[in-house]
Symmetry: C2
Subunit: 141 residues, 2 copies
């Protein structure tokens, strides 16, 4: 358990103290610096966070590939960080980015290309802004 003074320091202090989860990760939300659209949600470990802060380019940690990765290193669709914010309990990062091309590996501008609406006591998806800017089969071999 955290003490009150530790919580106060994390929430109201100006010390950068990312609180990584059991896998050593924080959640990162990237939004388009122009439109405000949410482009993607991904994870950063300490090294990805450090490289992002130092370079101004977004780096992430891929849980599925278990590796550090610079956004756009394969596709060329990089993210330039305009502003980085930390949340109250320091376990989530928000970056406002200038996105080159598409943020999503499926070729869409944003990973959030489907809306969720109620349907028959459950929910269904529908495409919104789902045009592909690139063909993933050609970009990722």
């Amino acid at each position: 358990m955290s003490t009150s003074s530790e919580i106060n320091d994390i929430e109201d202090g100006l010390s950068f103290q990312p609180r990584y989860d059991d896998s050593g990760l924080v959640t990162c939300v990237a939004t388009d610096a122009g439109s405000g659209e949410v482009l993607m949600v991904a994870h950063m470990n300490a090294e990805a966070l450090r490289k992002t802060i130092e370079s101004g380019d977004a780096w992430y940690f891929s849980r599925s590939r278990n590796s550090l990765w610079r956004k756009g290193e394969t596709s060329g669709h990089t993210q330039r960080v305009v502003e980085m914010r930390m949340d109250c309990d320091q376990d989530a990062i928000w970056i406002r980015v200038e996105q080159t091309g598409a943020a999503c590996h499926t070729g869409r501008r944003s990973c959030f290309y489907r809306a969720v609406t109620p349907s028959d006591g459950g929910a269904r998806l529908s495409f919104v802004d789902a045009d592909r800017l690139f063909d993933p089969a050609k970009v990722y071999r």
Copy 2:
């Protein structure tokens, strides 16, 4: 491991198939439907997601309190969902909300009231939009 056809269905299908983590949670990003500002990052379990879809009010699952919670049930600072989106691999939700008052339990409009900037090979925080809209000591007893 997922097969290619399962991945295709999850990424390019219109079937609502949230992929919960080992704790039964998906990540949810809430943004201000007007300004696009990221208000908070939290988690939903299947029940929180169902209640959010059914009611149009945001429900979350608190990991620290291990309980379901309707946003604003104590503070009155509710979130009305204007649009819900699902991401490519169906493990993250984006909701655009009409936020009553403040989203952050510290009393700020957004949980992201501190900017991160490089400093001496590391980073430091600085307050941005950090005015409190309410006094948490009075709201949460």
